[in-house]
Symmetry: C2
Subunit: 175 residues, 2 copies
DNA sequence: ACCTGAACACCGTTCAAGT
DNA sequence: ACCTGAACACCGTTCAAGT
């Protein structure tokens, strides 16, 4: 912003408060992803989860920023209300709707945290596939060896969709 | 450890390396949680996930430490091999087994990150239930209001079990 | 009203000097 | 072999001084 760091303390009491405001801003418009009235609950939930992941991915270290904050602004509360609303409207009890929100959000944060850490350019360290492949080859890990291509894949979208589908099918089994 | 911080640089090149070693140590014995040969794949997977959460919870900021590292030590690779092995033995294809590992691990890290952040004593800030309840009351969030008791509950074990069950039932639907 | 610049305590890291 | 103590660059925060 072309200002010294100290200048920001005129607008935010602590760096933590600034990060919270950034997390709130990141979620701007994410709740609107479920506007489609025609889709059923599972498709709307998936759309909301994808929109959340996209929002976190849209900023550097977005997932890490989001995970470290607890905003109570209109964007996160609006998003949460929308998610819980989709579930309640679909007939899920209030407590399951709330827990589904957490399961979806926690998985999304956990996944995107991993995704952004892997995409870090300077990382190069033990994070990249090469080191994992070497370590697996060096040790005796038959199952990891068999699934190594998938383990070292960089198709994070597919990985995210897999986990998201598990959650949704798990929810479907509860109806 | 009753030594100056600089003394640790005799054993670890960077703080990051130290944290990675701590994450590796944290996972000691976690893979052994699946020793029970009699249990079916879903119960063994659940046991492994619970053991991982317990390991992260056993240390201060355990989830945050774990999330920031990418160890390729015997404990994490052994854990990963065990999880993938449970899935492959149950008949899941190699790629699904690998993705199931990530889904389970990412959810567990995401959940425990949230759990340990909420349990932080000094937090007191917008993280605690009080602030959330106030914010929900102030705004117009009908669905959050309806599920507020569950949203502000501190029964993290139940919350974890809910998400874990969704993942497992989602996997069961794929067999 | 809003920013700079200097200052403070603190943290990650290095390294010569001790034992 | 292993640790201390001092030093360095850097970061979060404060605040008097400028415009």
């Amino acid at each position: 912003m072309d200002v010294q760091a100290g200048a920001l303390y005129r607008y935010f009491a602590t760096k933590q408060d600034l990060l919270t405001a950034m997390a709130e801003r990141m979620m701007d418009g994410v709740a609107d992803a479920a506007e489609a009235r025609e889709a059923d609950w599972s498709e709307r939930l998936a759309t909301l989860a994808r929109a959340m992941r996209a929002a976190l991915l849209s900023r550097r270290d977005g997932a890490r920023v989001f995970a470290g904050t607890h905003s109570t602004g209109a964007n996160i509360l609006g998003f949460a209300d929308t998610v819980v609303g989709v579930m309640r409207t679909a007939g899920f009890p209030d407590d399951d709707a709330a827990r589904a929100l957490y399961a979806m959000a926690n998985f999304t944060v956990g996944h995107t945290l991993e995704e952004q850490a892997a995409l870090q350019p300077g990382s190069g360290g033990p994070a990249d596939p090469g080191h994992l492949a070497d370590a697996v080859a060096a040790g005796t890990y038959p199952h990891l060896k068999a699934s190594l291509p998938t383990l070292t894949s960089t198709d994070f979208t597919r990985l995210f969709e897999f986990g998201l589908d598990l959650l949704i099918e798990g929810l479907r089994a509860r109806r």
